[in-house]
């Protein structure tokens, strides 16, 4: 009953000092917003990545010069790594015994494809790859065929294209057997990929595959020509063995001394998801840190507003004490009021955080995640804030001398 009275009193003080209160509540909202926003964003990204990882193929791994996801200052560590050359990769492919499913690929962005008068935006990913690539990456060719080993060997001008390009350049016409132009070179279209949707806002259908040999000859970019090696073990049982063999082979090919670390990254679904976890870890840490800083600022604001409120209501406190309110009642009343104010700001922050998370998930086509944990965390934080920053003003109110308070004008 008394709680209800105090909560109503809090709303009353919002109403009677609207601007002042709203400004203070705003800073709480911002703090809670960044906590909820980061929490939701992380949850959304996590679920998106997990979905995509499964699509990547069960027992596959990847060897690259640098990690896929790279955070912080660690680029220094990778800067001096030598490229994985095409020749080196081919040797690797020949030497591995525990699996035949090894693919060499490289990718570059910003390509424009043309057919007759039509041309795409300059945003196509061009991927050089081989005959194993599609199997390992779980990519289906819905029309036409994959590359043959012979094509890869002899660097033919053939291409397998994504659905976006079919839509843009052929618009219903048959694409297989037609030619498209990439940087003044004509490619015969031999296959069309099944649509894969998008990841993190980037379409996965806006890509063109050509044989890696052709890619290496004409299209390596100036950033270096380090290729990626993708492999797949035959079974779950042989996965670790294949990974071990790959590491050993790669070390010997790259002359890594026994006491040195690998001069390349070997990535599995697990390591990528770990890398991603450390990325999202940074994201949530950032969100929480900025949230806590603004909540601290908000806390000072709450204390200020409560002190003003106590001052303004000195006479009221005097009346309450005169007619029999005990110290604890007054203390309780003002703490509840502070908590209510904090919760009010918190609810606004939660609402906006969830809205922002929805926006993000729409942007990257992922399912929306509302991080219940963070919502509860926010409610808890607001309660704690009210308690901490409301205590001193409430204590001041509770300790007022009724005679002095009644005399206050």
């Amino acid at each position: 009953m008394n709680i209800l009275e105090s909560i109503l009193q809090a709303f009353e003080s919002v109403r009677s000092n609207t601007l002042r209160t709203i400004l203070t509540l705003l800073s709480i909202s911002i703090g809670i917003f960044s906590i909820i926003g980061a929490g939701s964003a992380v949850a959304t990204l996590d679920s998106a990545v997990n979905t995509q990882l499964v699509a990547m193929g069960e027992n596959s791994f990847m060897i690259r010069r640098t990690p896929t996801i790279n955070i912080g200052n660690s680029w220094r560590k990778y800067r001096n790594r030598k490229d994985i050359t095409y020749a080196q990769a081919k040797e690797f492919k020949n030497n591995i015994e525990s699996t035949d499913l090894i693919s060499i690929s490289d990718e570059t962005d910003g390509y424009t494809a043309k057919v007759g008068n039509l041309s795409t935006d300059p945003d196509i990913s061009l991927i050089g790859c081989d005959e194993n690539f599609f199997t390992i990456k779980n990519m289906q060719i819905i029309e036409g065929r994959s590359f043959s080993a012979q094509e890869v060997l002899s660097a033919t001008s053939t291409a397998i294209i994504g659905n976006d390009i079919v839509l843009k350049l052929f618009n219903g016409r048959k694409a297989i057997g037609e030619y498209l132009t990439l940087k003044n070179q004509q490619f015969l279209i031999v296959g069309i990929l099944k649509s894969q949707g998008s990841m993190f806002g980037k379409s996965l259908d806006n890509q063109i595959m050509i044989p890696i040999s052709t890619f290496m000859r004409y299209h390596t970019d100036e950033w270096g020509s380090s290729v990626d090696i993708t492999g797949q073990a035959y079974s779950k049982q042989s996965f670790l063995q294949t990974v071990d063999e790959s590491i050993g082979t790669m070390r010997s090919l790259r002359n890594v001394k026994p006491w040195e670390d690998n001069s390349f990254e070997i990535e599995t679904n697990e390591t990528i998801s770990n890398q991603f976890a450390s990325f999202t870890g940074y994201l949530s840490m950032f969100g929480i840190a900025s949230g806590i800083i603004s909540l601290l600022a908000a806390g000072v604001g709450i204390m200020n507003i409560m002190l003003v409120s106590v001052k303004e209501r000195t006479r009221e406190i005097g009346i309450r004490k005169a007619i029999g309110a005990k110290k604890n009642w007054i203390l309780f009343q003002f703490i509840i009021e502070a908590i209510t104010l904090c919760q009010l700001g918190g609810i606004i922050g939660i609402a906006f955080g969830v809205i922002a998370a929805n926006g993000l998930s729409t942007l990257i086509n992922a399912e929306t995640q509302i991080p219940l944990f963070w919502v509860l965390f926010s409610v808890g934080t607001c309660t704690l804030m009210g308690l901490i920053f409301g205590s001193y003003p409430a204590w001041k109110a509770a300790c007022l001398d009724p005679i002095e308070a009644l005399r206050y004008e």
Binding site: M1, N2, E5, E12, S16, R315, E316, G318, I319, R320, K321, A322, I323, G324, A325, K326, K327, N328, W329, P402, I403, L406
Partner: protein, 239 residues
């Protein structure tokens, strides 16, 4: 008259420390107040009558001396005990009404009952009842700023009455009212007294004090005189 005094004060003093100097607000005051007395505490400003009222109302404790309320030693009481005594035993009426500005008449009157833990429904019915008793039955949901001065003071009296206190302590209750309204309020107090309530009235106006049955004059922190009221103004009220 009852043999056991409601209030027993013996040799109390109140000393304030002001700039290292001791100032006596009350010096060695003794008096007893019995149930169903109507007492006026009179004195000019600075006489110590407000301090005496604060002590009698358990808002303040004396520096020295004995104060027992219904046989309980007030000096020994903690702040919370004093709050409880004020809540259950004393009904305050102030010169400036001291109502909560944003609460309705009924809510204002319910306030002391909230602190004594009375249930919501009982609070409301008791509040409405006393509001009707003071003649404001049709002003239940009005806020103080929607009421006249006399009506506000009636609400304040109703708030003082709602806990059925042993004493009604009124501090200059007519000080902020015009003469006519003041007379109405004094009639209200007289009626309460006639119904068996104990009333202590603090005032500096002879006209107001004359309503009481006993007049205690305070000067320089001492009791100057303590006598039965001979000019019975209260009988005029029945005209």
């Amino acid at each position: 008259m009852n043999d056991n005094p409601l209030i027993h004060i013996q040799n109390i003093s109140k000393v304030y420390e002001m700039g290292g100097e001791q100032v006596f607000a009350l010096r060695d005051i003794s008096l007893d107040i019995y149930p169903n007395e109507y007492v006026a505490l009179m004195g000019p400003s600075g006489s110590g009558k407000s301090t005496l009222m604060n002590v009698l109302g358990c808002l303040d404790t004396p520096s020295t001396g004995i104060y027992t309320f219904k046989g309980l030693d007030v000096n020994e009481m903690s702040d919370n005990d004093l709050a409880e005594i004020r809540n259950r035993e004393i009904g305050f009426v102030f010169q400036t009404f001291n109502l909560l500005p944003r609460a309705t008449a009924v809510k204002n009157i319910e306030l002391p009952l909230i602190y004594s833990g009375v249930s919501s429904s009982e609070r409301k019915s008791r509040a409405i009842k006393v509001l009707q008793d003071v003649g404001l039955g049709e002003r239940l949901t009005h806020k103080p700023n929607e009421l006249s001065g006399g009506q506000r003071q009636r609400v304040a009296v109703a708030r003082a009455l709602v806990t059925n206190p042993s004493i009604i302590l009124a501090d200059e209750p007519t000080g902020n009212l015009d003469t006519k309204t003041g007379i109405e309020i004094m009639k209200l107090f007289r009626d309460l007294w006639l119904k068996g309530n104990t009333v202590i009235l603090v005032t500096h106006e002879e006209d107001v004090a004359r309503y009481a049955q006993r007049i205690i004059r305070i000067r320089d922190g001492k009791v100057e005189s303590d006598e039965k009221n001979t000019v019975s103004q209260y009988s005029q009220g029945t005209e």
